[in-house]
Symmetry: C2
Subunit: 465 residues, 2 copies
C-alpha cells in the first residue's frame, strides 16, 4: 500500500512536472505517447502472460486489448501533434478594446486515474484516461486495481521507462484500498480524476472531490444496463439470438457495454427469440471472472433471480468440482413485463441478461423507467414500415437515456475514433458531456484560456501546445 | 416567494417541454431567440427605466448592457441555426461492426438559471445562461435576484410573451430566498444549473447538486481578484493610472472582472503610478451600489482596511448627509508586499482596489499565492527587452491562475464572440472547462450522443438540431 506521505510527495512532483509539460509542444507529447506504445508493444508476450494469469481473460482478448491500448496512445499523440485539440471556434476576434482575443487549450495539471479491472490494459494503468491526460500535457498518478498488482506494476514499469524523457514526476503508480483512493482524490495538487468502476466506488470519489476546499471534476464511468429493444419485424431474424448471446457472454459478461436487458415483442417470433437467447447464453463456454468477489456476486444474483416471482431461469449446469470458485454459470432470467423493476433493471456483471417479452405498446413505459446507460440498442427491420415507425417513436427516449444509440448491432464494440462518444447520463457516468474513448477524451484534461492583446511572440513562447 | 409545489409543477412542465424542444431544428431555436431579442429591444425604455430605478446603474450603462443582451441572444441563435454547435470531430467513422458512427449534440434537459444582480440584463433573467440554454434547446427556470423583483418580472413577462410559440413549460420565473434556490437545484427534472454570484452562494448550490441522488453540474461564476501586474518599462506610461482607475470604479466597482489587486514595480515610476491610481480612484464620481448589503460590506471593508497594519488609504471624502446609505466611497489601499495576504488577496465588490509596490523579483512569489481568477493582466512595454523577458517568465503562472490573460488592456470588457473564454480556475468558477460568455457557452447545455448504424432517415427524423 502506498503511504499517504508518498502520495503527497508524488503529487508535489507531479505539480512541478505539470509546469514543465505545459511548455511542451503537441509534437513532443506525441513522441512521449508513441514511446509508451512502442514499449508496451515490445513487451506484448510478458504483458499478456502476466495479465492472463491474473485476470482470467483469454490471451486472444488481451492481445486485442493491447493493440487497442497502443493504438489509442498513438492516436491521441497524433491528435495533439496535429493541433486538433485546439477549439476551432477559438480563432482570433476583436476584444472591446480593439485588441485580438484568441483562446488556447492549457493542461489542467496533475490527474489521478483509477485503473479498471475489466480492461486491465485499455482502461488500466496505460489506458484511455492515462493516454488522454498525457496527450493533454498532464502528469498522471495511477492507482492500480487491487485485484491486479502484478499486471499494474509491469505496465507501470514499462511506462516509467518509456517516459524517461518526460519531466520527473510525470508518472507514478500508487497502490492500496479506499483510504489511498480518498488520499489521492483529496490531494491538493490533483486537478481532475478519471475513474472506471462501480457506482459505489465512483460516487465515493465524487463525494470526496466535491467536498474539497476546491472541488475538482471526477470523470467516472460506472454502472450501465445497456438495454436492447427488439422490434417485431426484426424478431423474425433468428440470427439475433446468437449475436446477443455472444454480446452477453463475451469476456465472461464483464464489459461495461454488455446488454443487461433485452425486450422482445410478445409474439411467437419474439418468444422464440427470447428462448433462443436463453439457450445460447446457457450453452456458451465461459471463463473465470476477474475476482472472487465478482464471481460470488454473480452466483448470489443467480440464487436471488431464481427466487423472484414470475421469473423463468435458463442456466448452465453447476460447475463440476475443482473448476474454481471464479468460474460463473451463464444464465438468462426471463420475466413478465409487470415484474420488471428493482434488481432486474440494474447492472449485473457476469454472463447474465434479463429477457422480457412485452407487447410493443408497453416498450415506452418500460423505457421511461430506465436510468442512464452507456448505450441503448434497437433491433429493427428498416424495410418494415411498422418497425420503422416504432423506431422513430422510441429513439428520442433512448437518446435521452444513453450516450450511444446503436441500431442493428450489439453495443459491446466501442470504436476508438474522433466520432466516438463513450459516456452517458447518470448513473452510467458522472459527466455526461465528456467521453472516455476517442480523441475528444483529451478535452477532459484541457482548460481554455483566452489570450487578449498578447503579442504573437509571447503566444509562441508561452503557449506552444 | 414561489411555492415549492409550484417549482415541482414548473419543473415537470419543463421536462415535457424539453422532449418537444429536442425535436426542433437549430433554425427554429434561432427564431425563438431572435423573437426574445426583438421583444427586449422594443421595450428598451421601460426596461432601462425600471432597471435604473431598482439597481442604481446608469441608463447609459444599462443601454449598453441591453444591446449586449439582445446581441448575444441573436448571436447564439445564429450559431445553432448554422449548425456551428456540432462538434467538428464528430464526422462519421466506422464502428467495429462496420456500421457508421457519428456523434450529435442533444439538449441536456431543463436548466435552472440564477440571475446575477450586477448584470441585471446580460446575466439576468434573459442573460447569457438563459440564451445558451434556449439555444441548446433546453427549457429554463430562472430564479430572479431577490434585489431586483420589478426588473426580473418585467423581463420575464417580455420573454414569456416572446416564447409563446415554444412548448408550454419552456420558460418560468421563480422568486425567493435560499430555500427556493435549493428546491430548484434539487428538483429531479433539472439537469444543469447556471449561476453568477458569490462564492458562498455558488458553493451552497454546488453542494446541493453534488448531494442529489443523481448529481448534476453547476456552472457557477463566483469571486475573482483579477490581478494586474505592471512591469517597470510600462510603469513609465502615466496614462495607465486613469485607465486602471476607470476599470476599478466603473459601474461602482461591481463588475466580476474589476481589478482587485495592482502590483506596480518598487521604483519611482511605479510608486508614482500607484499614487496616481489612488488619487484617480478617490476622485472618480460614483453612484449607489446594487444593494444596501453590498454598500454596507464596502463601508465595512473601508473601516477594516484602514486599520490593517502597514496600509495607506486614499479615499473619497465621507458622503454628505442625505446621499443615501447605498453610495460608496471609492478608495485605494496601498500596502507593502509583506502585508499582502488574507483579505487583501480577496475580491471586494465596490470601487476599491489594493495597490502594492513590490520589487519585480517578488512578483512570482506573490502570484504563487493567488487563487484562481477570471482574468489576469500584464501591463508591459513590449519594445523594452527587460519587460518582455519578465512577461514571458510571468505568463505561465498567470495562465495557471486565470481563464483570460490580458496584455496591455483592462480586463473589464468581455467580448461576446466565438473566441471568448469567460471562466477560470476555482474559486473564480466551479467549471474551469466551460465559458459563460461567447458561443461556446451553448455547449454547457448540450450532451453528445453517438449514433451507430442509424439509417439516415432515422437521424433526420429524430435528431434534427
Amino acid at each position: 500500500m502506498t503511504d499517504p506521505r508518498t502520495i503527497t510527495e508524488y503529487a508535489a512532483r507531479a505539480a512541478d512536472a505539470a509546469r514543465v509539460l505545459a511548455t511542451w509542444t503537441g509534437a513532443q507529447r506525441r513522441d512521449l505517447l508513441h514511446r509508451c506504445a512502442d514499449a508496451l508493444a515490445a513487451a506484448e508476450d510478458r504483458i499478456i502472460g502476466v495479465a492472463a494469469a491474473e485476470t482470467g481473460l483469454t490471451p486472444a482478448r488481451l492481445a486485442g486489448e493491447l493493440a487497442r491500448t497502443t493504438g489509442q496512445l498513438r492516436l491521441l499523440g497524433d491528435f495533439v501533434a496535429a493541433d486538433r485539440h485546439r477549439d476551432p471556434l477559438a480563432s482570433p476576434a476583436a476584444a472591446p478594446d480593439g485588441s485580438d482575443v484568441v483562446t488556447v487549450p492549457v493542461p489542467v495539471g496533475p490527474v489521478a486515474v483509477f485503473a479498471a479491472s475489466n480492461f486491465p490494459l485499455a482502461f488500466g494503468v496505460p489506458g484511455g484516461d492515462t493516454a488522454a491526460a498525457l496527450a493533454a500535457g498532464c502528469p498522471v498518478l495511477v492507482k492500480a486495481h487491487p485485484a491486479q498488482p502484478e499486471t499494474s506494476r509491469l505496465l507501470a514499469d514499462l511506462l516509467a521507462a518509456a517516459l524517461a524523457a518526460a519531466p520527473a514526476g510525470t508518472f507514478a503508480l500508487v497502490e492500496g484500498g479506499p483510504e489511498v483512493s480518498l488520499a489521492l482524490v483529496t490531494s491538493p495538487p490533483i486537478r481532475a480524476v478519471g475513474f472506471t468502476g462501480s457506482l459505489r466506488g465512483g460516487r465515493a470519489l465524487m463525494d470526496a472531490a466535491a467536498g474539497r476546499p476546491d472541488p475538482i471534476p471526477v470523470y467516472a464511468e460506472m454502472g450501465s444496463l445497456n438495454p436492447v429493444l427488439v422490434l417485431p419485424g426484426a424478431a423474425r431474424d433468428g440470427n439475433w439470438a446468437a449475436a446477443l448471446a455472444a454480446a452477453v457472454t463475451g469476456s465472461a459478461g464483464q464489459l461495461c457495454t454488455k446488454p443487461g436487458l433485452v425486450l422482445v415483442p410478445a409474439c411467437p417470433a419474439g418468444t422464440a427469440l427470447a428462448d433462443g437467447i436463453a439457450v445460447a447464453v446457457a450453452a456458451t463456454p465461459t471463463h473465470r471472472m476477474l475476482t472472487e468477489d465478482m464471481a460470488a456476486a454473480h452466483a448470489e444474483w443467480l440464487d436471488r433471480a431464481a427466487n423472484l416471482p414470475g421469473t423463468k431461469l435458463t442456466s448452465a449446469p453447476p460447475p463440476t468440482a475443482g473448476t474454481g470458485e471464479r468460474t460463473p454459470r451463464p444464465f438468462v432470467v426471463q420475466v413478465e413485463p409487470e415484474q420488471l423493476s428493482g434488481d432486474l433493471l440494474e447492472e449485473h456483471f457476469g454472463p447474465t441478461v434479463v429477457v422480457c417479452a412485452a407487447p410493443v405498446d408497453a416498450y415506452p413505459g418500460i423505457v421511461a423507467r430506465l436510468a442512464g446507460s452507456l448505450t441503448a440498442t434497437l433491433i429493427v427491420d428498416p424495410v418494415d414500415p411498422a418497425d420503422s415507425d416504432l423506431a422513430v417513436a422510441l429513439l428520442p427516449a433512448l437518446a435521452e437515456r444513453a450516450g450511444r444509440v446503436v441500431v442493428n448491432g450489439v453495443p459491446t464494440g466501442v470504436a476508438v475514433c474522433d466520432a466516438m462518444h463513450h459516456g452517458g447520463p447518470w448513473p452510467a457516468t458522472s459527466a455526461p458531456w465528456s467521453t472516455s474513448v476517442g480523441t475528444a477524451a483529451v478535452r477532459r484534461f484541457l482548460r481554455p484560456v483566452a489570450l487578449q492583446g498578447l503579442p504573437a511572440e509571447f503566444v509562441a513562447a508561452v503557449f506552444p501546445g
